[in-house]
Assembly symmetry: C2
Homo-oligomer: 342 residues x 2
């Protein structure tokens, strides 16, 4: 039996996670049962959604059990298969875990990777993976921006936000990004080419948003919550839509979560606040990937991935999501990645 | 020039309104200008929405100015008209004010009253007026309950809620009402025939709702906000809809408004929270009135109106909306009402 190394959940965080909540575990891999597939991971995904799965609370997926590997998106190679649909050697995107190898069921495999020439393999886990798909369905199917409308994206420098912000622009909307820090603001304006950008760490967001979106906000694509969500609601245009993608600000160590105090804006503005889960759109992943790949090939869609190494370092990079020090989408490349898998 | 008596806004309330915020004013009526209509009011409407219009804050209608009559729905007779579309003697439903007579523009007239035989005139201002229309469009167009789904209505004993709760049942949904007090609970069960009722003053609403809606809430029609909204969100079913009709609990004297702390439930449940304004559906009022009138005639739709008298008493009855002591829809009948206008 081969050994396997995993990052497991040691304790449930009460607010922002700490390194002590994780543990590196080494254990032999068991043999495959019928219908199971052994995946060897090339890249692991580091996403805010993982924080949600670490909580005791039931959500759209069950909580990660204590002592179990941390659930995450992965880009993986089929190493062994007892399901005839998956041939050894195939590259796939999966919902597996922070570990070297995972034994999975077919429904955890989200699709084969048809690698696009000239595009790094890792991009298939970011802009062509869960992040890109989340941005695509959340923005286009829930937010439904129309040409000429104004779209505002929080966490616009992140893996999901940066794609959503560009998609809004590509669909003819005015796209405004909110992110923390001068460097991220420059990235939004100069590299993503957004119409406006707001640095929430150094600017009065409400005043800046009023100036940048004088006619109000038609679509507010929010991954942050808290004060930013309230500002978005306050500046909502008639029939504006708030797309709930996440609420990273609502993870407090000391204080309980806060709801948007001005939610009745939805009434005056005939607005809508709506949540979504990307997994619900699985039947349309190929369509979305094809659109995103076209934009990538034409150079209209820019992505920024920050690739780190070492399974054992995964938790410390995960914690960077909560201080905003990451740049674009965070992924871990494992030793199993060959030169031509990069 | 004839004298006119009005209830005017003397000061803006900071929380629950007080009698001192209102003043009875007597002033002569000016002459009509071209295009204006003089209405003589038979019934004035007393609604929670008026509290919103008393605030400084801009909403879907401008705030009532200090010293101006309190805006309200009315059931009125055209007394004079300088618009050829409106003939003297016609009965209309209007958005006018708490006063004996109002000079209005055509756009304030929401429709002519085609009085239904056997139905009291006042019902044309309640179940066939703004309340019934609000329930109709809010529930059916925003909430869109499907047969077999579970609908929960807060303030289910009130003018809007009681109609929404019955409409839900008439459309084949399971209908659960929340109201305050034993008497209101009995009204919901025995007179409206709802599937279940919860007395929020004497019951653990979360536990009672869990028992009454074990599969979750598909449509939560909310006029209250606060803790009840949080319970509704907590018990939302997959793809559940929260219809925002109002937020009467959010009028606090001392504490700021509170948002629903568990709004991220919308994400896990792929839910939607949406506001609406009945005025937007003006083009479809006749369609809605016809449907509601059919239900009234067949006896399937029950309504309870509490009709009080005396313009000068209007503010004190308005205050009853905030302690829950009203029974059904509150209206004021003015002296101008003849016997056969009742």
């Amino acid at each position: 039996m081969r050994p396997n190394r995993s990052i497991v959940l040691k304790s449930r965080p009460s607010g922002v996670p700490a390194l002590e909540d994780f543990e590196l575990r080494e254990a032999p891999l068991r043999a495959l049962e019928d219908g199971e597939i052994l995946l060897e991971h090339l890249f692991l995904s580091i996403d805010p959604a993982i924080r949600g799965w670490m909580a005791e609370k039931k959500s759209y997926l069950p909580p990660i059990a204590l002592g179990e590997p941390i659930r995450s998106g992965t880009l993986s190679r089929v190493a062994e298969s007892r399901d005839p649909k998956f041939k050894p050697g195939t590259l796939v995107q999966a919902l597996a875990a922070w570990e070297e190898r995972s034994i999975v069921r077919p429904q955890q495999i989200m699709g084969e990777i048809n690698r696009l020439p000239g595009i790094p393999l890792a991009a298939h886990l970011s802009v062509l993976g869960g992040n890109g798909l989340t941005a695509y369905f959340g923005l286009l199917e829930v937010g439904k921006p129309q040409p000429g409308e104004t779209v505002v994206i929080t966490a616009a420098g992140g893996g999901v936000g940066s794609v959503a912000a560009q998609l809004a622009k590509l669909r003819g909307a005015r796209s405004i990004g909110i992110a923390g820090g001068e460097e991220k603001k420059r990235f939004l304006l100069e590299e993503l080419g957004l119409d406006a950008a707001i640095d929430y760490k150094n600017e009065d967001v409400n005043a800046a948003l009023k100036a940048a979106a004088p006619k109000g906000v038609d679509v507010f694509f929010d991954s942050v919550g808290g004060e930013l969500l309230e500002i978005g609601l306050a500046r909502l245009a008639l029939r504006g839509r708030v797309v709930l993608c996440g609420a990273i600000s609502q993870i407090h160590e000391d204080s309980p979560a806060e709801g948007p105090r001005n939610y009745v804006q939805l009434l005056a503005k005939r607005g809508r606040m709506e949540g979504f889960v990307t997994l619900d759109y699985a039947a349309r992943y190929d369509e979305a990937r094809a659109v995103l790949a076209d934009y990538l090939r034409s150079g209209e869609l820019v992505h920024r991935d920050e690739i780190v190494t070492g399974l054992e370092n995964t938790p410390q990079h995960f914690l960077r999501l909560f201080d905003g020090s990451h740049r674009g989408k965070l992924m871990v490349r494992l030793q199993t990645t060959d030169e031509d898998d990069r």
